[in-house]
């Protein structure tokens, strides 16, 4: 077996400002990794570099493609990269408006990836969309409604359905529960936990909320000033933090 993602020496500079620096790790199938750290520590920068949306200044990101095994995602051609992004990968944006088409119905939002990879049977596309709405606990009666009429929590769940419909192997999430109030967050977390387990998804989840990290992630990467300062099993990092910055992070919340 080989890792799904193999990252080494990943650095992204913005001029002379550091976005992220010298990050390396392996992610295995079914593993959920959390990235935590304060605002500006480079979490989003790193996530974007990992998900082929931001070219790194140096370093490599290799993904285990179905055809050729580990392949540098920035060295492969654009068509293959796009194909990966809409089949093998999912990207869940913090603001669901960035990840959804607000002008088309919920069903079309979920069906889009299917159509993008060649599905041409309306009835089947619609049936799959309905199935996924159900999976994310959205009433299938809303299938033809525009996302504009959905609540924040529903939008986020719709975005998740839209990403999972092609059965991706790896999902990138940037603050998936950000901007939602607490009860809505709990429901979303529960759903994510269930989906990740049931589907055996690997995921990389950026969050500043240590409780979210504890619930979702198997392992954690703690970032400060663009660098990874501590990594390990999630409960070990949170219960027995070693790096001064991690201790500060953990001690500044009530019960992570």
């Amino acid at each position: 077996m080989s890792p799904l993602l193999q990252v080494s020496g990943l650095t992204r500079l913005y001029g002379d400002r550091v976005g992220c620096k010298d990050v390396g790790f392996e992610l295995w199938p079914g593993e959920v990794m959390g990235i935590v750290g304060e605002s500006g520590s480079g979490k989003t920068t790193l996530l974007n570099c990992l998900s082929a949306r931001l070219e790194p200044t140096s370093g490599t990101v290799a993904y285990d493609t179905r055809e050729e095994g580990l392949t540098d995602i920035y060295a492969m051609g654009e068509p293959r990269r796009r194909m990966l992004m809409r089949t093998d990968w999912g990207i869940v944006h913090q603001n669901p408006r960035d990840g959804l088409r607000m002008g088309v119905s919920a069903g079309a939002n979920v069906g889009e990836r299917l159509m993008a990879v060649g599905a041409r049977h309306y009835g089947r596309i619609r049936a799959q969309a309905a199935e996924w709405l159900e999976q994310v606990e959205i009433d299938t009666g809303r299938i033809d409604d525009l996302p504009l009429t959905f609540s924040g929590g529903m939008l986020q769940r719709l975005q998740i359905a839209r990403n999972l419909v092609t059965h991706p192997r790896l999902v990138f999430m940037d603050e998936p529960t950000g901007g939602l109030d607490v009860s809505v967050q709990a429901r979303l977390l529960d759903l994510l936990r269930r989906l990740v387990t049931d589907l055996g998804l690997a995921a990389i989840v950026v969050t500043h909320d240590l409780a979210v990290a504890r619930l979702l992630a198997h392992r954690l990467m703690v970032m400060q000033g663009g660098e990874v300062v501590e990594t390990g099993l999630t409960d070990q990092v949170l219960d027995d933090p070693h790096h001064p910055y991690t201790q500060l992070l953990v001690s500044s919340v009530l019960q992570p």
Binding site: S105, G107, E112, M115, I125, D144
Partner: protein
């Protein structure tokens, strides 16, 4: 070459026409691909078919016979002024007879009379980019064309079916040209889409405001997008043309009086008139 009015032949200077012809050649070489060109100011406002006029000006020669239609009719203000424009600036012959014309400039229709090899049809295009509705960024739509990344075009058709129970797009219905480039056929009714497929005539498209030229060379495949369970279909009418009795042409509904009287007649006035003439002659 100058005409009596003191314009260069067909209004545009030779250098501009060469530039347009180069764009057309490239467009013909890559069926369905939108070629940018340096659109010139024309003595007509945008929306009057300045893109089509420039293409026509680029290809027309003194021996050409020009037909101009607007929504199928030869006698609307728009069609008449474009015909007059070329008659004046190029001194060429004009006609309303489809089979007689060597060049047909059109807004929103393809004639009912089948086109033949050697003819050229020039479409006036208001918006050339089929992907624009879902992707406002030009850089991105270019990339999507480059990668033939068109799957999401079906999202639009999906929405139609979800909302209306069928694909309700009736004009400017998206097509795939030569199994490669996605193309907007200009706002012709989808009734005309099948005529584009493997048509013996050369089909040229000019968008003035957006400065794009594209083409469908003779005998090229043009397929309308659809779903397996919602196949592409053209409009059908339960009645025949009230004037010529045709059951095969595209019909317009016209109001005949101010008491709500209405009837259906061919939108292609040349086709309708000629059928009526033939019937009269036979009687």
């Amino acid at each position: 070459m100058n005409t009596s009015q003191g314009y260069n032949f067909a209004y545009l200077d030779e250098q501009t026409k060469r530039m347009i012809r180069r764009a057309i050649l490239k467009a013909v070489a890559i069926p369905g691909y939108q070629v940018p060109f340096g659109s010139r100011e024309m003595p007509l406002p945008y929306g009057w078919g300045t893109g089509g006029i420039q293409v026509t000006a680029g290809i027309i020669g003194p021996d050409d016979i020009l037909k101009v239609i607007d929504q199928g009719a030869d006698d609307t203000t728009n069609a008449v002024s474009i015909r007059r424009f070329f008659a004046r600036t190029a001194g060429i012959r004009t006609t309303s007879r489809t089979e007689e014309a060597t060049i047909i400039q059109t807004r929103h229709r393809i004639p009912e009379t089948p086109l033949s090899a050697g003819q050229t049809i020039v479409y006036q295009v208001p918006t050339p980019e089929p992907l624009r509705w879902l992707e406002p960024r030009e850089t991105e739509t270019r990339k999507m064309h480059a990668l033939a990344d068109y799957g999401i075009m079906h999202v639009k058709l999906y929405e139609d079916i979800a909302r209306f129970g069928r694909i309700s797009t009736t004009y400017d219905y998206p097509v795939l040209v030569d199994d490669r480039y996605l193309m907007r056929p200009s706002p012709i009714p989808k009734f005309d889409n099948p005529k584009m497929h493997r048509n013996p005539a050369l089909q040229l498209f000019g968008a003035g405001r957006e400065k794009r030229i594209y083409a469908v060379p003779p005998w090229t495949s043009v397929r309308s997008l659809d779903f397996e369970d919602h196949p592409f279909e053209v409009q059908k009418w339960s009645q025949a043309c009230a004037l010529c009795g045709s059951t095969e042409s595209f019909l317009d509904e016209v109001v005949t009086d101010d008491k709500g009287g209405r009837m259906f007649v061919c939108s292609d006035t040349d086709y309708c008139q000629r059928r009526r003439d033939a019937k009269e002659a036979a009687e």
